[in-house]
């Protein structure tokens, strides 16, 4: 039997040898070697087998099991004498499958061998018991063998995939397989014992660990399955097998109590994965407008879509703010606070009551709206309200702070995340053409018009860079461009300064106008008119000037955004200035009124008591009480008005500027003297910069106003919601894609940066009013206090134990705050320095890499002239010289076990050489498995130094082609 088997092996090996073209002699050689080796072992085992006759029977049955499972092998066994027919039988199969099968067979055989060989000594030791057990477990064994084999197969292919970067090249695969075979042989010495002993329930620690490791590997495979570039069918089958394996073996791990726990843990893990998946499914379903944005993206490119994504993000933030303010301030006040009409601040004054419900009044946010929970003035300064003893003033203050806190946190967090995702922003100038070639197409485009534009823009950009490349006198061009850019910036700064001065001038003038009586309509609205004129004409002017600069549209968009932002800051400045004037006026008025109110109350009291009635006087109707101007509510109303008018202007602009224009162009074109669609009015493009800035400034208004008008956030949420639908519709119906469609970079950190700036700017006035302006005396949650923040002190004093107040007073001590700030500044300085150092190191490394590359190129070019003999010599010494350039290979080499130095050296050389395609690939293909080899503990098995391994047998063909082909290749090299 042994002899027969050996023959079979040989035959199979020969077949493999034939498949691997050119390797036949060496391979068969080595395999014969193995065959003999095996046969030798076999004799030994057979001798032992003679000891007990039982065993051979068992083995026979086992063998039959195998053959049943693998009919092909059965065939092989039978047809050994006649080689020819057997091969013919195999031939119809697909080449690859054939090979695989053969190798599997080979594996099978050897596995069998080793198992027996392993069993030998053991049986010597405890023969009787084991024989019995074996009898029982026979069927199981076969089964297990199969599963093990399958698993190994899988591993083979995974490794192979990883190794060879999934290029399914024939030779490569062959090599990989052979190598893995070898590995397997090494490993084999340990695995069979695992399967045997697992039946005996005496798993040693090592084996257990190994099994565990395998299970873990499988799990990892399952979780990374989607990242594998395989066909779906393959992925599915792999997945199924891996799952089956995990399913089968994870129960076997652990024993006794540990086993139960392990199983429980596994079950929970499975449940958790399932839950996570369901949750993810749910989460993606919760992302609104995904389809809408994708549709816009496909029509207009990702830059327009980036606006909508920003809008959606904004909506999310505002929803949170809305929840915060409504949940903690407005709803408690409405539910538990004093009802409307119970006190002066919650009642419309007598003089206004007649018109309080008129639409024109309500539209100005006067009348009933002014005296509602939407505005600051409505809230009472009672410390606690309702049966919950809810501390409303405190809550109001804290919510006002946390609105800013939350926004800051969210903006900074998303900025940081975006910064992580962005990839260097392409500071490399090395790959201009390559990037143009491979990444210029926007794969999201799904609209013929956009595609046409994209084609045109790609063509022009190619032509531009070709012209750039062809011009030998590049420097002049650069100078001209630099000059133009500087000129453009100077022009724009002039424009900005001019408009800034104009705003300043107009604001000053309006202050003098406001003191005068009977002024005309123009004088009253001068500031607004000037502002809107500037806003209308400056952005197009900037755009015209920006055309001089000739930036890539993506960078151009950023510049444009920055410039318009600077212009709009003027707008903000005037608005705040006017508001501060208003507030100061109101504050002065308040002082006068405060006395009047007290006097009125007093006189009312006096008059009622003066009449002689001893009963308590009827309280003055809250509508009749004279009251202060309540500057906070005024400010809140200003912000709400501004927001609403902004919404209206935006919508009307879209309707008129885009939709009506599009309709006009579309339908009047039939009867017009020139082509309207191609000529003057044409369709509008989507104005990304304007829309983004509008959104950002609007958000600034919301942040500033939300402290004085808690209802403002609700209005904003509605606005964002409607504008999402409205703008989506408008852009799809009446806009055309940009002439130069460009991709927005994934990280829209620029928008976020603008938002952060606005957030900071809007934080300043609010902080100023909280810290240094006295709140109104008769309205709002802080009335009666000198400053708004006193509500904190009050809470600490009344609601907390004494020591907290003490701690607080210590912490608030400037002696502590100033050092803290200093410390923070120092920390920032230090971190900044560190990051700069890292950047410098990074740049240095980049430069070094560049140098190395150049050097290598030069070296190669020089080498092309040397003769081939010299070249061969050099190749021999290459590993030593090249290793610095290939740190990875060096690493590999270092951890290499000593018995493998010769093949690795070869590989290292081959990989370092990297000249020949085949060799280069093989180098890559062969290196990773060495890692695998190293991570596994070296087994003390008999077969570890597999005969074929010590020699470069597996790839004898290796050096030949690149020596042969290497020479003529060099002339092809550029330069």
């Amino acid at each position: 039997m042994g002899k027969k088997r050996k023959c079979a092996l040989e035959v199979i090996m020969e077949d493999v040898g034939i498949e691997i073209d050119g390797q036949i002699e060496s391979d068969t050689d080595s395999e014969e070697h193995t065959g003999i080796f095996i046969a030798h072992d076999r004799k030994k085992t057979e001798m032992k087998m003679d000891w007990r006759q039982n065993d051979s029977k068992i083995r026979k049955s086992q063998w039959q099991d195998y053959t049943q499972l693998y009919p092909y092998k059965d065939e092989a066994k039978k047809k050994i004498p006649k080689k020819q027919p057997r091969r013919e039988a195999v031939r119809p199969n697909r080449l690859e499958r054939e090979k695989r099968q053969k190798i599997e067979d080979k594996k099978e055989d050897e596995e069998e061998e080793s198992k027996e060989e392993d069993n030998g000594p053991r049986q010597n030791r405890a023969s009787k018991r084991k024989t019995l057990q074996r009898k029982n477990n026979d069927g199981k064994m076969a089964e297990k063998g199969v599963s093990r084999k399958r698993e190994r197969d899988k591993k083979t292919s995974t490794k192979e995939q990883k190794d060879s970067e999934n290029k399914e090249k024939k030779t490569n695969k062959e090599k990989g397989k052979e190598k893995e075979n070898k590995e397997k042989k090494e490993r084999r010495s340990s695995t069979p014992s695992t399967s045997n002993s697992s039946d005996e329930e005496s798993l040693s620690e090592e084996e257990l660990a190994m099994l565990m490791e395998q299970v873990e590997q499988k799990k990892k495979l399952i979780s990374t399955m989607r990242n594998k570039p395989w066909r779906m069918a393959k992925k599915l089958s792999m997945l199924r097998e891996a799952q089956a394996f995990v399913e089968k073996f994870e129960g076997a791990l652990g024993k006794g109590k540990g086993k139960k726990l392990y199983a429980y843990k596994m079950m929970m893990a499975k449940k958790w994965v399932k839950f996570k998946r369901d949750f993810d499914n749910f989460k993606t379903q919760c992302i609104p407008w995904e389809m809408k944005i994708k549709e816009v993206e496909s029509h207009f490119g990702s830059s327009v879509a980036s606006y909508f994504i920003f809008l959606r993000w904004m909506y999310g933030v505002n929803l949170v703010l809305f929840g915060l303010i409504f949940g903690l301030v407005i709803i408690p006040e409405v539910l538990m606070g004093m009802p409307y009409g119970s006190m002066p601040r919650k009642t419309v004054p007598r003089a206004e009551q007649a018109t309080a419900m008129d639409f024109s009044v309500l539209w100005d946010f006067e009348g009933y709206i002014k005296y509602s929970a939407l505005f600051y003035g409505y809230y009472n300064n009672q410390r606690t309200i309702g049966w919950l003893k809810y501390r409303l003033p405190m809550a109001y203050f804290m919510v006002g702070i946390s609105v800013f806190g939350y926004s800051l946190m969210v903006v900074i967090r998303s900025m940081a995340r975006n910064a992580n995702e962005s990839t260097g922003e392409g500071d490399d100038e090395n790959f201009v053409f390559s990037w143009k070639m491979f990444t210029s197409w926007d794969y999201l485009i799904g609209n013929p018009e956009t595609a046409d534009n994209k084609f045109a823009s790609i063509t022009t950009s190619f032509k531009e860079s070709i012209v750039d490349e062809q011009e030998s006198n590049k420097d002049e061009n650069i100078h001209l461009r630099r000059f133009l850019r500087v000129l453009a910036n100077v022009l724009i700064i002039c424009c900005l300064c001019g408009s800034g001065y104009l705003i300043y001038f107009v604001v000053k003038r309006s202050q003098t106008f406001s003191k005068m009586q009977n002024i005309g309509w123009y004088e009253r609205n001068e500031v607004e008119i000037v502002m809107s004129l500037l806003g209308m004409f400056c952005p197009p002017l900037f755009e015209t000037i920006a055309a001089l600069e000739n930036y890539h549209p993506r960078i151009g968009l950023k510049w444009q955004l920055g410039r318009i932002f600077a212009l709009f800051l003027g707008n903000l400045y005037t608005f705040l200035l006017a508001l501060m004037d208003d507030v100061n006026e109101k504050l002065a008025e308040e002082d006068v009124l405060k006395n009047l109110t007290q006097w009125t109350l007093l006189s009312h009291h006096n008059s009622s008591t003066g009449n002689g009635s001893t009963a308590t006087p009827p309280p003055l109707d809250p509508a009749d009480v004279p009251r202060g101007p309540c500057w906070e509510t005024t400010v809140g109303i200003e912000f709400v008005r501004l927001t609403v008018s902004d919404i209206l202007v935006t919508f009307v602009t879209i309707l008129v500027g885009d939709f009506i224009r599009a309709c006009f162009v579309r339908f009047v074109n039939y009867c017009w003297c020139w082509d309207l669609e191609a000529g003057f009015p044409s369709y509008a493009e989507f104005d990304i910069s304007g829309n983004v800035l509008g959104l950002v400034f609007n958000q600034g208004m919301i942040w500033m106003g939300s402290f004085y008008a808690p209802g403002l956030v609700g209005i904003n949420v509605l606005r964002l919601l409607t504008s999402m639908y409205f703008q989506c519709w408008a852009v799809m119906s009446s806009n055309v894609p940009h002439e130069r469609v460009f991709k927005a970079s994934k990280s829209n950190n620029f928008y976020m940066g603008l938002l952060l700036l606005i957030l900071f700017l809007s934080l300043l006035p609010v902080a100023y009013t909280i810290m240094s302006l006295p709140p109104s005396f008769d309205c709002g949650p802080f009335s009666g206090k000198k400053r708004m923040y006193e509500v904190i002190q009050e809470t600490i004093e009344l609601d907390f134990p004494v020591f907290v107040a003490k701690i607080f007073s210590y912490v608030a001590n400037p002696g502590l705050i100033i050092p803290a700030i200093l410390l923070m500044v120092l920390a920032i300085y230090y971190l900044n320095a560190v990051s700069e150092a890292y950047q410098r190191a990074n740049a240095e490394l980049k430069k070094k890499m560049q140098m190395l590359r150049e050097e290598e190129k030069n070296k190669r070019n020089n080498k092309a002239s040397t003769n081939s003999a010299m070249q061969d010599l050099e190749d021999l010494f290459k590993p030593n010289t090249k290793n610095e350039n290939q740190p990875k290979q060096v690493e590999d080499k270092k951890i290499e076990p000593p018995n493998k130095t010769s093949p690795t050296g070869k590989q290292g050389k081959v990989a370092a050489e990297d000249v020949s395609p085949i060799n280069g690939r093989r180098g890559v293909a062969l290196t990773p498995p060495l890692h695998v080899l190293v991570t596994r503990p070296p087994m003390p098995g008999v077969r570890t130094p597999y005969p074929g391994q010590a020699r470069p047998g597996p790839y004898p063909q290796g050096p030949v082609p690149w020596r042969g082909r290497g020479h003529p290749r060099y002339p092809h090299a550029p330069r």
Binding site: E165, N166, K169, M225, R226, N227, P229, R231, M232, A233, K235, L236, L239, R240, R277, N281, T284, S298, S422, T423, G424, E425, G426, D428, N430, F431, V432, F433, S434, W435, M437, F438, T439, S440, W441, G446, A451, F455, T459, F462, S465, I466, E469, Q470, K743, S745, R853, E856, K857, D914, V915, S916, P917, G920, R921, V924, R969, H972, A973, P974
Partner: protein, 180 residues
């Protein structure tokens, strides 16, 4: 809900979710997209894995691919037979790789395959020329095309063999700001 059960078994859906970057809903949506291409060919029941293949003409007419200059290559790369005729599995595969959740490495690998027109595992000059011509709709002169191709080779070819291997390609494209 009832619909879901008849098209795929839960196990199939789970397996697809493991193998792609999609959620259950997206897989179903993709299935309907696939089915809409040829309602008479594709059955509504995939539990027993019917062997259905849609020809390239149908795949290439999808709005996602219709205007893409590389649509034929994409279909070829992702199809089992290399001719652009796709099964549902191929179809899911394609969309999974193209989806925004797919990692850049995976995308780079498939991008390489797409640009490798003659399937020799290298992007050589003829591949580059084809790429340029497809991108510009043949509006560049032959000299310009050759110049561009030479520049690309010069920039990205790290081992100086006159063509781009997968490693060269990945090295170059991972750094590109536009490659998402």
């Amino acid at each position: 809900m009832g619909n879901k059960q008849t098209i795929f078994t839960p196990e199939q859906l789970d397996a697809y979710q493991d193998c792609t970057f999609f959620t259950r809903k997206e897989i179903l949506r993709l299935f309907y997209r696939y089915r809409d291409l040829a309602p008479q060919l594709v059955p509504l029941d995939y539990t027993d894995k019917p062997d259905v293949t849609l020809p390239y003409e149908l795949i290439g007419s999808m709005p996602e691919l219709k205007d893409n200059p590389f649509r034929q290559r994409i279909a070829e790369v992702f199809s089992e037979d290399g001719e652009g005729n796709m099964t549902l599995d191929d179809f899911l595969d394609m969309f999974s790789v193209m989806s925004e959740m797919a990692p850049r490495d995976l995308k780079a690998y498939y991008a390489f395959k797409i640009y490798d027109f003659n399937n020799d595992d290298y992007i050589c000059k003829s591949d580059l020329e084809k790429t340029v011509n497809k991108l510009t709709r043949n509006e560049l002169t032959p000299e310009e095309v050759t110049l561009a191709c030479n520049k690309v080779i010069d920039e990205a070819d790290l081992d100086n063999d006159g063509k781009l291997s997968l490693e060269d390609f990945q090295h170059m494209i991972i750094r590109a700001p536009d490659f998402l």
